[in-house]
Symmetry: C2
């Protein structure tokens, strides 16, 4: 592969929402024509959508069976969080997230070990999804977020204590799934997932610390490191666990981890761009929401640290008392200070790095198609 | 063994603090004379103190090494919680708890597999201690407890978010220790420990739910089940993990689990008695503290559900607005309603059951000496 930055094109999907795509990636996938397992591949997110649907079909039964082992009060909270049950116990229509992390586990296993490896890594994929959801439960408590996936968060319904306990229980379930998995890769996967939890905790800590800082105190390196720990780590871990289940060597496991991390950072950068300029109908987030909350997202910190006159103006705007402010004016100031361009360039750069790592471990573009489709998919959406 | 309730004697150690001891147990330990490993055994808690000191010496380096792997902010909180570091980063004198749970792991391994089994179960013992401490960190947040082991709790020093995150990280470290342990019992131990975490969460949930109930709504069965989940489960799990590392069969593992659970319940009952009538100098808890907080501890619930006239009086006292109340009068009312006698009888009963389970798995009294000494020790102390 080896795309350089200049090989990336930025195209406007709809007003206000840019997506980044490596030139040629699409063609490569199209030329592959069929996926490894014989199903037709597809472009523009359709292949990713199909992979995600297949992942849900394979992983959801494992997740549901794991949640069924919980004692009633914990199970109630967990089923509500996953969108499978209302607070009163009646069944709910779903909405348990897009399953991107378990899809990465399965796609990485398939890319390096074929359909057999994909099949034996379903339990590990479920473990990764449980860890993701445990961190969501706890992050929502800490961040006082009242809505997730268009539903009230667990702490808002059940209280802080129960949301914390349900999160604790989900982490335990995740590690139990791996402890019970007879596959020889399971212990290494469990160790890796546990390390990832520690990194996620450090990332969440850094995020809350960052939000408490004054605008002038934040550095871009810290913010990037935070985003890597908070978002990149689990995407990398998911890919690495898939590689472990495929039985590959350490170098390929590390390359898959790096692929997931870089793709995760690209995702976060695009998510942050959408959080400022995005289309609320498409994202479920009102445009400017991150600015209204004075969030020190990546484009904002890039702008604040740009050394431009607009940077100083932005710092002032961020320190002013909140109220009937003009969010469009703040967004424009971030843009004038170069925050938007930087974030888009950085996202393209991260995607290019991700694909270089992927090409190292999976030189066959056909085999890499699934992972590539998922990486492209996550950099086009925001939740 | 097979003690019946009548074989138990209640002796007064010091004013206000009764301890329960099976008649004959002491003699048996004395007659054993020497422990399995050739060191002289001892009575009246000295043997237990020695076992705990040996446990600390073996397990603390593993714990410290595990904490060293944490990113700086998480490490700081964890070292403070363990009493190894002050909030400002200077070394602290310790006070990281009595290490009863890891001591039970090692003693169970030694009882069923000799010194070799003891030696290979040190990592698992550290994992159990990490789980215990993760639950303490989270429980303190939920219960708003500001002091633990005579030091300010983590949330009181670092805030809720960081205390939650440090707890999450400790759970991950615990499971990582087992995932990295090459011993063939490690996966089964990890699965068991994960199940135990779920039970601990359910126990903590039940405890907070119970405290929100009105005095008339609580049943004794619920309260006992809560205490078993909250206190018995991890003591049972510790013993079961020791048995797993000794390579014993399922029946012995289950018997050791039951031993630890019953001993844990006996501990909780005695702890609750001390929480009402105990000596504050000995326990670090002012007498009547549980009553001042209107805690629905086991003796209180036994009293409330006794159907006596004193029960109705106690319910009224518990519902009255808090203020300059006469705690001695409340304590006397619990006693008149039979709460104290019930708790002491129940503790004796639980200890008898514990020893029957122990005798099934470890018929040799000499081999069982360490576990017996620890079980007696925990029912004599309160923190």
């Amino acid at each position: 592969m080896g795309e350089s930055l200049t090989e990336f094109v930025t195209e406007t999907q709809q007003p206000g929402t840019e997506v980044l795509r490596p030139a040629g990636a699409l063609e490569r996938r199209r030329s592959a024509g069929r996926q490894r397992d014989g199903r037709p591949g597809s472009a523009d997110g359709h292949e990713a959508e199909m992979l995600l649907a297949r992942t849900r079909a394979a992983v959801d039964p494992v997740l549901r069976a794991a949640l069924e082992t919980l004692p009633v009060p914990m199970r109630r909270i967990a089923l509500h969080h996953f969108g499978w049950q209302e607070a009163d116990g009646t069944p709910a229509a779903g909405g348990s997230g897009k399953a991107i992390r378990p899809a990465l586990v399965l796609a990485a296993a398939a890319a390096l070990g074929g359909p057999e490896a994909r099949e034996v890594s379903v339990q590990a994929a479920a473990a990764v999804e449980l860890v993701h959801n445990f961190t969501l439960l706890h992050d929502d408590v800490m961040d006082r977020d009242t809505t997730r996936r268009h539903r009230p968060t667990a702490w808002a319904v059940f209280g802080d204590a129960d949301a914390i306990l349900a999160g604790d229980a989900l982490q335990a379930l995740a590690l139990r799934l791996l402890a019970e998995d007879p596959h020889p890769a399971a212990p290494a996967a469990a160790a890796r997932l546990a390390d990832c939890v520690v990194e996620l905790c450090a990332g969440q800590h850094a995020d809350t610390a960052l939000e408490r800082c004054r605008p002038g105190e934040v550095t871009l390196d810290e913010t990037l490191a935070m985003a890597e720990a908070k978002t990149g780590a689990l995407l990398g871990c998911a890919c690495a666990i898939g590689a472990l289940y495929a039985g590959t060597g350490e170098a390929d496991v590390a390359a898959l981890d790096a692929f997931g991390r870089e793709a995760g950072l690209a995702f976060q950068l695009i998510d942050d761009v959408i959080g400022i300029w995005g289309d609320p109908h498409r994202t479920g987030k009102p445009a400017g929401a991150d600015l209204a909350a004075r969030k020190k997202s990546l484009p904002v910190v890039a702008a604040l640290t740009s050394g431009t006159p607009a940077a100083a103006e932005l710092a002032e705007l961020y320190e002013a008392p909140r109220g009937e402010e003009d969010l469009e004016h703040i967004a424009l100031t971030v843009e004038r200070a170069g925050g938007r361009d930087w974030a888009q360039g950085q996202a393209a750069d991260r995607m290019a790095r991700a694909m270089r790592h992927l090409a190292c471990a999976v030189p066959d573009p056909e085999a890499a198609g699934g992972l590539l489709a998922l990486a492209e998919f996550v950099t086009r959406r925001s939740s």
